[in-house]
Symmetry: C2
Subunit: 371 residues, 2 copies
């Protein structure tokens, strides 16, 4: 990844002004300073910082970046001169309060009730002039549209995961445990320089009917369908892909359901494009599953945005009010789950374009029968 | 792990009553339903549920467990009959509101401002009788004291990580990249049936002066100290350990600083025990580092609790107001970091007992010189 462009901060300041605010606090105000990875994709997008303990503040005249002593040197190399960098001795929250002025936005989904109270108290202890205003997803809204370098990063992560799928399939499925298959594929992702973007799902037979089963010790048997959901993280950006494979020759019903999901997935892909509602895209795929009588068996939405986080806006689903935009990167992943029997899910990752989409997934979609 | 005892819910209900509450909401109310692992250690401790999307509610007459359709079957096997189990069609938050009554506690560190507003609105839309009350760490307070099965689980995770250290050292350090060393050790953790509890730190030379450096592509060279911080997660419970090794013969100053940290760590171990303040334990180790003139170079606290989370109460540090109790499991990890030169950290994981501690770390602490 090339360094983050200062243009991102400028776009954010514009959005902050349009929201009637003087400043915006950016970062994880749930557990600031804790060591959760991905604590703040917003911070990474805005500043390029890859550490886990940082808060930024932007305003017309303000580009401020706070971190603690553990990350002073990393901030110097990653954030550079685009922001005024401050290494904080105490808690990040206490240090930011004296610097707030005017109408100050905070992200109400990224701020805990406890930390809002602490910020309010710190402001009251000072000159008390700043007014805290709840905002929602100002940075996430800008993060939706991926620029060329971000699309390239996600495409590279997707390609890496596809390579790990292929390596995994070469070792076969029948007689191996779900966990063995998942671990070998994740080891391959790491060898290739990435990390798993989320715990890999490998779910054979009835386990495939649990949409988010984890890979278990259960042995994959001949005749089963295997749902395999995997993504890689590379340079901070995630991929997300699912294929359903047949471990040996499957039954007729399994083949029929597979082809149904494949048609629904193709319809979903056909539907997406700039200007299309997330609900309409979902319905394009869902209608096919419904008409085949499996409406109840498709219990989740068609897809979600993918970027610095595995799940981010926009949403494609029955209740979505999002409208797709060029530059969105979204998953298209219908599924049919038949409890105690089997499941099928097929998922591609696509870049939304003005005239449709560009598919980042290179794996075939006809049913592969693997020994 | 044996199934979670119903006694945990009873102890929690008692604490809820003592806090003047009728009910308590348990779980991650920041991003409920999202796929972040470890979203709620409280839920796991209380119910045994290992999935990522669940909210529980307890009160004198209430044991309620809500999850979504993805986890219905897992909840059945893991949570069982100890709780009334409900599979929620829509959002977990909307479904819980009609069930609230009286004074209802929520954890203000685990609840986002946005979700508190949503809960308040849902209550107002209903009969409006419930009153939401901010609480802090009621479950985390009970989680501090680890029972015998939990101590066993953490000890097993620590032993697994120690085995991975030994396997890693056999492959040597000099000429390998930090990332190679870390990846090989993490692969060993997985082979042994665990997962890394956090991204392994292997930091050679000047990188060791960055207390939370990640393993980089930098090659480890002869004469360097290597800070290696690693933990395993097994059955949900974490371990945490650090050793500093010499890659070939180190210089005299490095040996001196190593011995200083080793003495400070021994003093920290000597100090801990039931009834001891987290601040006093920290001071016992810090005094030794201060007297040697390296006060500035020990910029973090002496330790932290470890359990279902890698960082949990209590804290051992200059600002800690915690008092250690028998059954706490804490790290004891002083360090000295000399910017642009090297760092040393030595960390054991111990169970606090009435007369001191039981050490769960089996690795030696004299400076090991490794090729």
């Amino acid at each position: 990844m090339s360094p983050v462009s200062a243009e991102r901060a400028e776009r954010l300041v514009e959005a902050v002004g349009e929201a009637g605010l003087d400043q915006l606090i950016v970062g994880d105000l749930v557990r600031p300073g804790d060591s959760a990875p991905d604590a703040s994709a917003d911070i990474r997008w805005l500043t390029g910082f890859t550490g886990t303990s940082a808060i930024a503040m932007v305003g017309a005249e303000t580009r401020l970046f706070l971190t603690d002593f553990r990350y002073t040197e990393r901030a110097e190399s990653e954030v550079g001169e685009a922001f005024e960098r401050v290494t904080v001795e105490g808690r990040l929250l206490s240090e930011i309060a004296p610097r707030l002025a005017g109408r100050v936005g905070f992200d109400d989904s990224a701020t805990s009730v406890a930390n809002l109270r602490k910020l309010e108290a710190a402001i009251a202890d000072g000159d008390g002039s700043a007014e805290l205003v709840a905002t929602s997803g100002l940075v996430a809204g800008l993060r939706r549209r991926k620029d060329a370098s971000e699309q390239e990063a996600i495409a590279a992560a997707a390609k890496l995961a596809d390579d790990a799928y292929r390596a995994g399939l070469e070792a076969g499925l029948i007689g191996r445990s779900e966990r063995q298959v998942a671990q070998a594929a994740e080891a391959r992702i790491r060898e290739l320089g990435g990390e798993p973007a989320f715990p890999t799902i490998v779910a054979g037979g009835a386990n495939g009917a649990l949409p988010h089963a984890e890979a278990s010790e259960r042995e994959i048997r001949a005749g089963e369908l295997v749902v395999w959901d995997m993504g890689a993280r590379l340079g901070g950006y995630c991929s997300d892909c699912t294929r359903t494979f047949a471990a040996g020759e499957p039954g007729e019903r399994a083949r029929d359901v597979y082809e149904l999901v494949r048609r629904a997935q193709a319809a979903g892909l056909e539907a997406v494009g700039a200007g299309v509602g997330g609900r309409d895209a979902d319905e394009a795929a869902r209608a096919i599953i419904r008409e085949a009588g499996y409406d109840e068996a498709f219990g989740h939405g068609l897809g979600h945005g993918v970027g610095l986080e595995v799940h981010e806006p926009p949403r494609l689903g029955r209740r979505s009010e999002d409208v797709l935009e060029a530059g969105d990167v979204v998953s298209v992943e219908p599924g049919v789950y038949l409890p105690e029997r089997f499941g099928v899910r097929i998922e591609d990752l696509v870049v939304i374009t003005d005239d449709g989409h560009r598919n980042l997934s290179s794996l075939p979609k006809e049913l592969l029968v693997v020994d």
